[in-house]
Every structure is written in C-alpha cells, then in structure tokens.
Symmetry: C2
Subunit: 349 residues, 2 copies
C-alpha cells in the first residue's frame, strides 16, 4: 500500500464509512431555527428555469427574550454569495464546478456495454473549449494551460462518449478538465485506469463513475505539520493543480434495487509506474468524502453494497499505448493560443 | 500598498468589478440543456423543511441524432454529491460552511447603532461549541485547535452580538471560527479592524459585513511558479489554516434604495504592525470574488454604489487593548479538552 493511500486512510477516523454515511442526515438540526429554504446554490445551465440566486425573504426568528434589532439575512438583497455549484447536465456527463479552484468538483458519467459499442464520435473532430456556462471571472481558460507543463486532463474520458459526436464534444469543455501530469500519468497510468473502468462493463451491465480532483495535505518531515501545497497555473494565476484525483465507481447489476459493487480510488497527480497495482490506490469511499467534502452514497443502503475489488479482479491491463499517446499529444496541441511556441516538456498546449 | 494587496489586485484582470458583476448572469446558457432544477446544494438547519438533497428526476434531453444510451444523472439515486453550503440562519449571523476545508465560506452580520447600544450578552457566559448542524465527518472539532498554535478566531465578532446572550452564543459555534494567528493579529490588528467596522455605525445607520477565509497563492521566488500553501490542523489533519481573511462591508443610509458605501479588505493571517494603515489592505470587491469563488454584490446596481474609503475615513483607532487581550486569552482557555496542558505559544486552547 502506497504512502499516499496510508495517509488518506489515516485521515479517516474509526468507524465504517457505510454506517457513518447512512446515519448522516440524522445528526442535523439541534436548533429550531428557520432555514432559508427557498434559496439555492445551484446555477443551472438552463435558459428557461434559472432558479432565483438568493432567498426571496429573510426568515429571522426572534431570540428568546427580545425582538432582534438586526437582520443578517438582509444581505441577500445584494445577491446570494454562493457557493454556486454550476451544475451542468450534458449528454455525456453531469458536472459541478468549483469556482474558487477553477476545476470541477466532480463529474459523473454512465457507461454500458451498449454505449461503448457505438462508435459515432471521433476525438479528431472535437476541440477543447472554455465553458460559457461558467461566469467569465470563474472560468478556466485555454490560455491558463498554455506552457503550463500540464495536460488538459479529461475527467470524463472522451473515449467513454463515442456513442455520439455531440456527446464526445461535451467532454471537451474545460469544466471537464483538470491540469494533469502528462507523461507517466494522464497518457499512461491514468489512461490504463480509465480503460479498467470501461472493461468493468464486461462483467457489469451498467457502470457509473464519479471523477474529480483532490488537494491533500502532506506531513512536513521537518516540523511534523500537515500542509496542503499546490501550484496555480495561468497568468494571472487561475487554475489550481490538484495533488490527487479520485474515482468512485458504482458497478450495477442492471436491476433497480440490486446489489451495487462500489470502489473508490485516489491516485497522485504524478508519474506512476505501470507495474504499480491499482489496488494500492483503493480507499474507503468515506476517505474520498472526507477529503473532498462531498458525499457519494448517502442514499445507497449498506445492505445493497459490495466491495468492487472483492467482487471482481481489480487489475490494469497495460497495453501498448503508443497510438493512444499520439492521439493525446495531437489533442493537446490543438488550439494553440499563441502564434509561436517553444518545445514544452509535455505537448500540453 | 502592501505586497499582498498588489498580488491580489494583480490577480484581478482589467475591467471594473461592478460592471463585470452586473453583467454576470447574461453570460450563461449557450446550450439548451435542461437543468436539474429541482436539486439544491443547500443543507438547511431547519428540522421542518429540509430540501431534497438530490433531484427527483433525471432530465436528460436527447442528443441531436440519437437517443442517449446512458443516463449520467442517474447517479443521484445514490444521493447528490454536493457541494452543500450548510446555510445556517441564526440570531446573530447567517453563515455558509466549506465542508472540505472545515471553515466557513462566509459569515454575514448586520449591526446598527441600536443593536450595539444594547448590552444583554457577556462573552464570559458563552462557550466555544462544535456545530451539530454540520455532519460529523465535515465538522471542525474543539480538539483540532488544541495545541495548534492558533486562536479560534471569530468571523462574526462576539462583541457585535451583545444585544442578547443567545445571539452572542451563536457567534461561538466553530462554524463561525477559523484558525487565526493570535498575538499580533486576532488579538490586535484584526480586533482593531473589527472595532473600525463597529465605529462605522457612528456615520451609517445600518452596516452589513461579510467575513471569511482565503487561501491565496504566492509566487515562488526560485522557480517563478504560483503556489497555494496552507497548514491543516488537527490529528488527523482536519481544519485548514487560511492564508488571508476578507471583509466586504456594506454601509447603508437606512433607506431601501439609497446609496451603499462598499468596501473590501483582505488581510494576511499574520502579525500586522498597528502602524500599518488599513487602506493598505483595501481591494476591489471583485478581487475578493475571484479569490473566494463567491459574489457579493451581483444584485447591487452600479449607480447605487460608493467607495467606502472615499465616503468616510478608513483608519483604525489603536486603543490600549490590554483588557481586551485578557478577555481573549480567557476565552481561548475555556473548554480545554485534555486534562493537562503545557504552555502554548498563544493561549489558544
């Protein structure tokens, strides 16, 4: 088990993830204070049903003894601060965006034997595009990646959306990208890991995958303190470079209430030797939840869950990826925003 | 102007914040895809009107040519991942919590000459408490602060909620705290800054203040790259130590549609000499928005805005804070979770 994996597991306190998750909603509401129930933090990409970005009223309840002389929720007259999840429902994926770090919070996809068997889309017809559904000041930009040394790394892989060109194009929004180390990771180990996910459809008729970035602390060997440290690319600095990436996989048996094989993996954004077993990166779902601030299975009863890597063999198939790498390099070289370029370490434009 | 201020302003691209903010909502929705309009990312602390945490349906629209063979939004059967804003509406404040960093995203308060003139609450009757409205696995803990070297720094100050003991107690939830440097910051310059905000009520009949943490990049002098680096306190590591704090101030004239004097400030979480003018830390509101991923004045028309520090004198009054510091130290020593303690650098238990 890798150091990374150990550190993450160390960060999960005692108790099974499943039980803690299932019990989650019962821990709320010790005070009978009224919520701003009408407000919503989701910015929708619909142009017909945009929810109101701030609450319609300020439901302050009086303190026990005295009518409150103030109205803190009156702030919302100037707009609801957020955070806004920028939920986007596209053909190939559903995604949520982190406006502070300019990366997705998570992207969710669904693959089946049938969807992967259709080949209507080709990545050579897709181009990387900024996501106009994200407000300009929070958007990741093509120029941020220029000469950054990082690939524009798909979170939902293009190869999972070959069933239509439109669907594949959906995966090329920068809101589906994070800065990823190219050689040795995005174009190698991570690509093999994506291939592993697709091969799960040989055994499971329906596979759901949630993918996203993490920013994990490391223990400083000198002073013993834990610190998070990550680069921010762009000029001015704009997009955070994640330290790690997660995938949470739900492998379904195709029935509505059947068992679900759940697997969670956390990989460093770094060169990983092909020999490394993928099981080295397996973690409890709760470890990803604690690290990301998200919850992935709060509505999945414990009795329906199985552990993916106990239910099937979790192992990568390392194929000759020369052709694939060529395709990657070609992709990354598309849409060069500057007229001239020197040779970057990774072909990551 | 400080280096910090310059760096933040450098991160704001050309264009006035006000105009960009006002235009924000018009940049959305280039694709006619249906949003998951019924979903909400807000977890309310009400026990009567908890909104559904995931969408009731999966509104996938077909691609142009082909019925989609997949249903990415079907993930929501297992629960909506988030992010969840944990909006809490209390007597003294409205707050939103960052489940990943275990700090508030923002806290909003409202002060008036009348509210500050009432003295029903005393901080000696208040105790620091963990916030039970936050799910346990995302909650900041009292033990995380123990021997961390940092104060439990109020974001809405206790002194702003003296109008009732209940209201003051509201400010002692850890969801209103961030780890702050004690001597030279929380107990000194930051306290003087909070006092400045209160004194604004001498001139303005109604003052709203939004406060929160930031995690800003610094340029590495060696390789020229921008990096964010922050400590995480607790064992296992749990609460991020912000690099900076912001306040966005709305000073109102007491009328519904009158002019609003707006000021934004970003201070480093570090010792600041009392001599430093507070105007060194003044930034455009948009700088805070870009750094936080939040928006503070999207609904405030440009023509109603004035610049606070042009409308009034922005200067701290440095009083003898010996008594105040004693009160702080006393607060911080309350509720020591371990039976014995050695002398920490700051009395920050």
């Amino acid at each position: 088990m890798s150091k990374t994996t150990l550190a993450i597991i160390a960060a999960v306190s005692a108790g099974t993830g499943a039980a803690v998750t299932a019990a989650m909603y019962s821990t709320r509401s010790e005070k009978k204070i009224q919520a701003v129930a009408s407000s919503t933090a989701i910015s929708a990409t619909s142009n017909t049903s945009l929810p109101a970005p701030y609450p319609a009223q300020s439901p302050i309840l009086p303190a026990k003894d005295i009518v409150p002389p103030v109205d803190p929720a009156g702030l919302f007259q100037y707009g609801f601060p957020g955070p806004v999840a920028d939920l986007a429902t596209r053909n190939a994926l559903v995604s949520s965006f982190d406006r502070r770090l300019r990366n997705p919070s998570w992207v969710a996809e669904h693959i089946t034997p049938a969807s992967l068997s259709i080949s209507n889309g080709d990545r050579k017809h897709s181009v990387f595009v900024e996501d106009p559904s994200i407000p300009e000041k929070f958007r990741g930009k093509l120029k941020d990646y220029f000469r950054s040394g990082y690939d524009r790394g798909h979170q939902v892989p293009a190869a999972d959306a070959k069933w239509s060109q439109d669907a594949m194009n959906d995966t090329f929004y920068l809101s589906n990208m994070c800065p990823q180390v190219g050689e040795g990771f995005n174009r190698d180990y991570w690509a093999h890991f994506e291939d592993f996910c697709r091969r799960l459809t040989h055994r499971y008729p329906s596979v759901r995958i949630v993918t996203g970035p993490l920013y994990l602390p490391k223990k400083d060997p000198v002073d013993g303190k834990w610190r998070v440290s990550y680069e921010v690319i762009g000029n001015p600095p704009n997009i955070a470079v994640p330290t790690h990436f997660y995938k949470v996989i739900f492998a379904e048996d195709g029935t509505a209430q059947g068992p679900v094989a759940v697997g969670a993996f956390v990989l460093p954004n770094a060169v990983i030797p092909n020999e490394k077993p993928i099981t080295d990166f397996e973690v409890p779902v709760e470890a990803v939840e604690r690290a990301s601030g998200l919850e992935f299975a709060s509505k999945l009863p414990v009795q329906r869950r199985k552990r993916l890597c106990a239910d099937t063999v979790c192992a990568l198939v390392i194929k000759e990826y020369a052709d694939k790498q060529k395709a990657f390099a070609k992709d990354q070289q598309k849409q060069i925003p500057a007229p001239t370029r020197t040779s970057p370490r990774y072909s990551n434009l």
